[in-house]
């Protein structure tokens, strides 16, 4: 029986091995390469997507468990040509380097800020423990996130 779910706002039906990781479905079947296959073990966070509004690594989600779920990837996060406030802050603060971890970071921080609109530094760091970055050393990313908070307050 096909697995039916919503992907970036569109209904899809998949007749495939239910053990297939969502990550492979996104990349291999739908050409959605924004989620990166870096560790495939749930440690790095580079494949993070939203499933029913939660930021989770797509490598550990067998497609068979996603019947009826609403999946949003970084490609479907915003309308084409627009950025959300996390992406905009990362551009404004020039924090991107190689870029491989950033789609995952954006997905994690977007839901984090929805639930915690005015975080402190430690809360941002805690939110990021599941998203490893090898280039930046994190702190300037955290500055960028905190700027969203202070702008929101102001």
């Amino acid at each position: 029986m096909p697995i039916e779910l919503t992907l970036n706002g569109e209904s899809i039906a998949l007749d495939i091995d239910p053990r297939t990781p969502l990550l492979d479905v996104l990349r291999d079947r739908h050409g959605l390469t924004g989620a990166k296959a870096v560790c495939r073990e749930g440690f790095c966070g580079a494949c993070t997507v939203h499933i029913d509004g939660q930021a989770v690594p797509s490598c550990l989600r067998p497609i068979g468990l996603l019947q009826g779920c609403n999946v949003v990837t970084v490609e479907g996060l915003t309308a084409p040509g627009t950025l959300n406030r996390v992406q905009q802050a990362f551009i404004d603060h020039d924090v991107v380097q190689c870029g491989m971890c950033f789609p995952g970071m954006v997905m994690t921080l977007t839901t984090f800020l929805d639930g915690t609109p005015n975080p402190n530094r430690d809360e941002v760091k805690s939110a990021l423990v599941g998203n490893i970055c090898r280039c930046t050393g994190y702190e300037r990313i955290i500055d960028a996130v905190l700027s969203i908070r202070s702008e929101g307050v102001a």
């Binding site: 990837t73 970084v74 491989m100 971890c101 050393g137 994190y138 500055d143």
Partner: protein, 787 residues
């Protein structure tokens, strides 16, 4: 026409043009290109040392969907750095566990992997050496019995048996220095393990065979090396190989060598299809070209006034099964371990040693990172032995203007001493964090470090387009450091009076741009930048000549600014640059200019250095780091309380981007210092296949680095720039180790400082480090004597 470009027109916090795509997931890395192509998997050895008796591919070929097999006979040429000792696919003698023996292309990755697993490899075990001590023992088996017959790619190396390469420095009478009655002699042994670069994008390549030529699309820092090595391995002309590079998902030196690219090329040629070869995370980690493990014995003769009159050291660097980068890196000991300080006399022996373990490679500031750790800890021990404050010893002993380095190179300008002063100011400006130690052991240390910019050949072309924009064509690649999206467009834009977003930068294509040494060693902004600046200046001069004629002015009186040619000091009197371009096209055609750059060469003292690839460094780079730590006496856990960097940057073209590089580099160094640990198991395999075992810094582990950019030190880089991305990692291991050592009151002799290691130190369970494999008599470690 000599028309200097005003640095003030170049310097800016230019944002990255690639950030939007990277943040929206649209950037296509090499590892994203594998749709609709064949997939490849590598057949790897399962033992560390063996003779191959037979390989049977029939069971693999019987699997439906298998399209081609690549094996040793497809790539007969050996390659390497300094020595050609490395086969692409090994068909005769296995030298490390995980060594590529063959590769299979199939319709899907699953089929390719199943087929690779089905290949029968029959072997006969050979004795193996897993450590450098074993490799150097008199009765050790030789990994490369045919070492004498290998092609030498560079003269001058001293080689023999399991010593792939030996580089020596001898300057002055060291024996006399150590025999002086007025000196204190301090001797130490140190060691470090390997460090995995762990870029998020693994090594990968997508190859096709078009019009009789190999086209390799790959994640690399060195497109021209990939071109040359592919040609050498496959035994074809280099002109038959084209290498193109999209965005690279991190490199850190791992991708400064050619590795799997030629395998994809062979399979593409055999199948006539596009073939994607992407390392799995486990393959990537277990065959990672790590920063090498190393062992050192060092001895110094120092006067009561802190004058280092004699220094001798022997460094063992594990190159793994093949020489690779370590052969070159033997050179860098002279400039790092032999750096920082004035030495009355010195002798250094740097040895790359073969072991039956995965080959090592280049990693950001390479052996400079551990040599700086060794040197700075040794310096602290000297200070203690002569009863001088460690900072005072450094102030007195650091190299200054006119002082000579280990190989006799004369250093220009006082840099390290004023940088130490600037660090003192930075420290004064912020309170210390002793209160945060909260009952734990507190330590602080300031360390110095010397690294270099790896210059060498680069070329560039600038095409001035009819719309007034410019296209810069080089062999540069964007690995995350920002050179291609910030520094280069800044330099070209300032020269041509454009804004940086009017400069199009073409990423590497060896069919389109001239030869280049690659992006690494801090060289891109300097070498590609210098070539780009020259190319842009040639374009500028042509346009100014044309415009001068049109305006009936002298070219010297004209400037390019804001897309216009203006008479200097009289804005609005000139014309749009597009008008001058149109005139040029009518007269002689489109305007373009070429630029090039190479290492100018700096002199060493003749006869001081043997076996070195670089006897003196063209652009030294200095760094001063300061670190505060708190050590938990019950668990051995080290917390970094603060971290400060004063970095020699020449001219900071983009201060904000340099700050990003420093924060990132320091954090990679903190991982090295504290918890990034690669170990070699009894079977010769690396024991950290994934992120679960190999611990990189997480957001909660780091601190914001306080930064002071030191400008104005001499540099031959364009506008006085130096590379800023490589050096931030240089003395992190050193600073943390010295701080921890002071906190716990014990000698720190190895990294990483994991809690068990630190706890053993605190509890006095760590004996004094000794390396029996390195003789205390310096001469006895030389190859000529040993054989």
């Amino acid at each position: 026409m000599n028309r200097p470009t005003d640095p003030r027109s170049v310097v800016m916090n230019l944002p990255r043009r690639d950030a939007l795509d990277k943040l929206t997931g649209r950037t296509r890395y090499t590892s994203d290109l594998g749709v609709g192509v064949l997939h490849a998997a590598i057949v790897r050895s399962t033992v560390a040392s063996a003779r191959i008796l037979r390989m049977d591919f029939a069971p693999a070929l019987a699997i439906k969907g298998v399209r081609a097999i690549a094996q040793a006979s497809d790539a007969p040429g050996l390659f390497g750095i300094g020595i050609a000792d490395h086969p692409l696919l090994n068909g005769t003698r296995i030298r490390f566990k995980g060594e590529p023996l063959a590769a299979i292309a199939a319709d899907t990755l699953e089929i390719a992997r199943a087929a690779a697993a089905a290949v029968i490899v029959e072997t006969e075990p050979l004795p193996a050496v897993m450590t450098m001590a074993e490799a150097l023992s008199p009765d050790a088996p030789t990994l490369h019995p045919d070492w004498k017959s290998y092609e030498l790619l560079r003269d001058g190396g001293i080689r023999g048996g399991n010593v792939a390469w030996e580089a020596r420095v001898i300057r002055g009478d060291t024996d006399a220095a150590f025999a002086r009655p007025d000196v204190t002699i301090v001797e130490d042994c140190f060691q470090v393990g390997r460090q995995n670069q762990l870029p998020f994008e693994p090594r990968c390549a997508v190859a096709s065979f078009e019009d009789g030529r190999y086209h390799i699309h790959t994640s690399t820092q060195v497109p021209w090396t990939v071109r040359a090595v592919t040609a050498k391995a496959l035994g074809v002309s280099a002109s038959r190989v084209r290498v193109t590079v999209p965005a690279v998902g991190g490199g850190f030196g791992l991708k400064f060598d050619c590795t799997i690219e030629p395998i994809a090329a062979v399979l593409a040629q055999k199948t006539g299809r596009t073939v994607s070869l992407v390392h799995s995370r486990e393959e990537e980690n277990l065959t990672c070209l790590c920063r090498e493990n190393a062992e050192l014995r060092i001895r110094s003769a120092v006067t009561a006034a802190g004058e280092i009159v004699g220094r001798e050291a022997t460094v063992l660097m594990d190159c793994g099964a093949y020489g690779g980068e370590q052969v070159f890196l033997t050179t860098m000991t002279a400039h790092t371990l032999g750096g920082n300080y004035k030495l009355g006399s010195v002798r250094l022996n740097s040895r790359a040693v073969y072991t039956n373990t995965p080959p090592n490679g280049a990693f950001r500031a390479c052996n400079g990172v551990y040599n700086t750790f060794f040197l700075e800890r040794h310096t602290d021990n000297i200070a203690r032995a002569i009863g001088m404050h460690p900072l005072e010893l450094r102030r007195r002993a650091v190299l200054g203007d006119g002082d000579i380095g280990a190989t006799g190179q004369v250093f220009q300008g006082d840099v390290l001493r004023p940088m130490l002063d600037r660090m003192a100011v930075l420290i004064d400006r912020t309170k210390d964090h002793r209160d945060k130690a909260d009952g734990r052991l507190y330590g602080r240390a300031t360390t110095v470090g010397t690294w270099f910019i790896f210059v060498g050949p680069s070329s560039a072309t600038v095409n001035l387009n009819a719309d007034g924009s410019a296209t810069l064509v080089t062999s540069g690649v964007e690995i995350g450091s920002g050179t291609m999206v910030q520094a280069l467009p800044q330099i070209v834009a300032a020269t041509l009076g454009l804004s940086p977003d009017e400069v199009i930068v073409k990423s590497a294509d060896t069919d389109a741009a001239g030869r280049d040494l690659g992006v690494g060693g801090g060289r891109a902004t300097v070498s590609i930048g210098a070539a780009s600046k020259m190319a842009a200046e040639r374009v500028r001069d042509q346009i100014l000549d044309i415009a001068a004629e049109m305006l009936q002015a002298q070219p010297e009186d004209l400037i390019l600014t804001k897309g216009r040619v203006e008479i200097a000091g009289r804005p609005g009197t000139g014309m749009a640059i597009t008008t001058a371009i149109a005139r040029a096209e009518a007269l002689f055609g489109p305007v373009s200019g070429n630029g090039n750059f190479t290492a100018p060469g700096v002199n060493a003292l003749p006869g001081c250095a043997a076996g070195h690839f670089i006897e003196a460094i063209d652009i030294p780079v200095f760094a001063v780091h300061d670190c505060e730590v708190a050590v938990d006496p019950d668990t051995g856990h080290v917390e970094v309380l603060s971290y400060k960097v004063v970095q020699d940057v020449g001219l900071a073209l983009n201060p904000r981007a340099i700050h990003s590089q420093i924060q990132g580099g320091v954090v990679q160094g903190l991982g090295y210092a504290l918890h990034e640990r690669v170990t070699v198991g009894p079977d010769g395999a690396l024991e950290q296949p994934g992120f679960e075992q190999y611990l990189v810094p997480l957001a909660g582990d780091v601190v914001p680095v306080e930064i002071d950019l030191y400008e104005g030190a001499p540099s031959i880089g364009p506008l006085g720039t130096k590379g800023a991305g490589e050096v931030p990692i240089l003395n992190v291991g050193a600073a943390v180790a010295c701080a921890v050592s002071r906190a716990v009151g014990r000698d720190v002799s190895e990294l990483p400082l994991t809690p068990p290691t630190v706890l053993a130190l605190i509890q006095g369970r760590t004996g004094r480090m000794d390396h029996p494999q390195i003789s205390a008599i310096w001469q006895d470690n030389l190859l000529a004597r040993a054989t």
